[in-house]
Symmetry: D3
Subunit: 62 residues, 6 copies
């Protein structure tokens, strides 16, 4: 009954998010030997302005 | 000083969220025998397209 | 299909945690008008030494 | 630069967790078309006594 | 390689968030004696209507 | 009323964690111009075996 939470940079389209949900669910199901129905995946879009690396928002990186 | 975080499907109105905050705070307060002032509740609306079950976004389920 | 996460100070016994899970699940179920089977509650025990308020671990407060 | 957090029931051995990290990282990398070096995966073991379903800890379910 | 997540009330401007990312990254880097490149900071704006204290949304407090 | 959550590799001693709580609380307080009493900091020790980078647990990295 695992719960997967993925934080990713804002900007991916729904098609790619759908693929991400699918692929990760299959991986978790296989690795833990559980039916895919038991896998939950929640995606969080985080704006680059809200994601700091080395003290600087990713939106300001070149 | 418990912190409660609730992820729910996007689409509830503010009235229902307010009720949710109220009821959960009372429950936590009673179960842990602490004053309600010490209970924090944070709600996260998650779009159905970002919530996968069995590898498929909830927005695509029938 | 809400997911509830509760962070609380380490030290409660299992009986109290069981009551907490029960009461919160009922509250969420009622407030959102969904069957209790759809409510997940995860508890996290946080040591007081790992929980800072006003810059000081709760374990050091009098 | 996605961050993946997986909550799972306590009790898996390290070998299975290692496989889980590997498979999920590959899936994320492929689905998002990013190098695997940019994928972080954090696992959280949650005791069944701390994981409630339908108001009852998973440790009490038959 | 610490990951810092900060939930704050919605309404701060980007300049202040940028300062927050900077200052927190420096603090973590110094306290843990690691290079700032290894510090990640993610900000979450939470609407006051979604942040309950003592059973009442912060948006309803006077 | 910000809530800060920091995930770090297991193995730091309590003295260093106390310093981390202190420094981060001061930074948040200053950057957001709020009294330190309103800042909460929660630390999570994550074992290196549970923290994957590039598909490999940090415990297996050289």
């Amino acid at each position: 009954m695992p719960i997967v939470r993925i934080e990713l940079w804002e900007g991916r389209d729904n098609e790619q998010k759908e693929l991400l949900i699918k692929e990760v669910s299959i991986s978790v199901s296989k690795a833990l030997k559980i039916p895919p129905e038991q896998v939950f995946v929640l995606l969080y879009d985080v704006p680059k302005s809200h994601w700091g690396i080395a003290g600087i928002p990713a939106s300001k990186k070149r």
